[in-house]
Subunit: 236 residues, 2 copies
DNA sequence: CAGTGGTCTAGACCACCGA
DNA sequence: CGGTGGTCTAGACCACTGG
């Protein structure tokens, strides 16, 4: 026996999950009510409630107050996509991370940039550009603008030691973010910096992070397509 | 007033969240214990527990039994990456979806394919290839192998009406999946089918889905880089 | 209206951590 | 050992849905 006594709420979750994934209960079908499961498992309603609430969070069922619980229509499959510090990621693979710092500057915001950062055109913004290397091989070109209101000490960082993302994660805790993942060809400059041909496809992530009331940073990260891919797993 | 009476557990979540995002409580700092918050808010422990448990799920805090609750080290922000039926997605944008069905066949599995599908080499597998169009413009090339054990009626589907993903979502409810997102250049054939140049970068998703005990399907989806990108938002 | 889920309480027992 | 979180109970009131 693996677990002599699985928690009650987990038993309920497993019970419902199994009926759904086995196809016994089809999308749209009603799931037994809390009171029914309460009797069936001889447990209190709070415990059943927790089980069903978690299943709803996971997208397995849909709950409507006053109406009931039903098997979710299409199990849209989903997984967590995580924003991490690339240095952490490289180190976790047991490799060494280094950075080439190409630019550390204060500039005046252009109109579109000011707009996304929530500043006035011409305001001071921090601008950094660097290339991240894994075991000496370039894997990411990072071009980032930072809102001085969100991270006033940003430029004091030694970017050969700490990544811009690391500074921001510490000094401007994230509250919101949006991202866009696309495929593109690198420009001549980026291709040269990444040691790839201009004809090699790249993954590009454009990311905008919010910390409290400030839009903290907008960054464009370009990865050589042959050296980097996202991978992930789902467990709905 | 927006909400005259926010739920108690929401209040606790908001309280803790605010201290964290404002920087008042830094990563590693202790969060008040359940009993402390219980007194402070004059609510029961179960309610405090729910608030902190949800914050832990969202990655804002770390909880260790017997030790306490602390502000999470790096607020790795995360969002749900959702994989959906492309037809649904196109229709949701208010556009029309059509398919060019290029191949619907039963084949014998090659060794590597059989391995990923959990079959014996030479077993029957279903194979479909199609191009999905949004308002008549090609946006995805789909090349898919399906395990007949998981979806025996797969080939009966009219793929001009229903996408392969749709059939699978209904007849082989997902239990697990893994994916890989990468950038690549299309081959000559795919470029032609998508009406793009062979030098145009593409996003490619390779996805493997599991339904119950069977590996149900493995698919490679190629999107023209100029016409498609993933986007998402985080709200921890 | 009866039945559903959404929330909350005031206790309780347990497993675990650190001193 | 005391304090922590993890779980559970047996009630309760409310808001909402459906017939």
């Amino acid at each position: 026996m693996a677990q002599p006594k699985p928690h009650a709420y987990e038993q309920v979750k497993a019970f419902v999950k199994t009926r759904i994934t086995s196809g016994e209960w089809k999308p749209g079908d009603a799931v037994p009510s809390e009171s029914a499961l309460m009797v069936q498992f001889s447990i209190s309603r709070m415990t059943v409630n927790r089980a069903l609430r978690e299943l709803a969070l996971e997208g397995m069922v849909t709950r409507i107050q006053g109406s009931g619980t039903r098997v979710a229509e299409l199990h849209r499959i989903s997984s967590r996509l995580i924003i991490r510090d690339i240095k952490e990621e490289v180190i976790e693979r047991g490799h060494t991370h280094t950075s080439h710092v190409l630019l550390v500057a204060t500039e005046k915001a252009t109109a579109p940039l000011a707009k996304t950062l929530g500043l006035r055109t011409g305001s001071k913004v921090f601008h950094t550009t660097l290339v991240h290397l894994e075991n000496g091989i370039p894997i990411q070109h990072e071009d980032r603008y930072v809102n001085p209101m969100a991270a006033p000490d940003f430029l004091r960082t030694d970017f050969t030691q700490f990544t811009p993302a690391h500074h921001l994660l510490i000094h401007a805790p994230l509250t919101d973010a949006s991202y866009q993942i696309e495929a593109c060809l690198p420009g001549r400059l980026i291709a040269k910096l990444l040691h790839i041909k201009t004809s090699e496809a790249c993954l590009a992530i454009t990311r905008c992070t919010v910390s409290g009331v400030h839009v903290a940073s907008v960054a464009r990260l370009v990865y050589p397509g042959t050296r980097y891919s996202f991978a992930g797993q789902f467990q709905p």
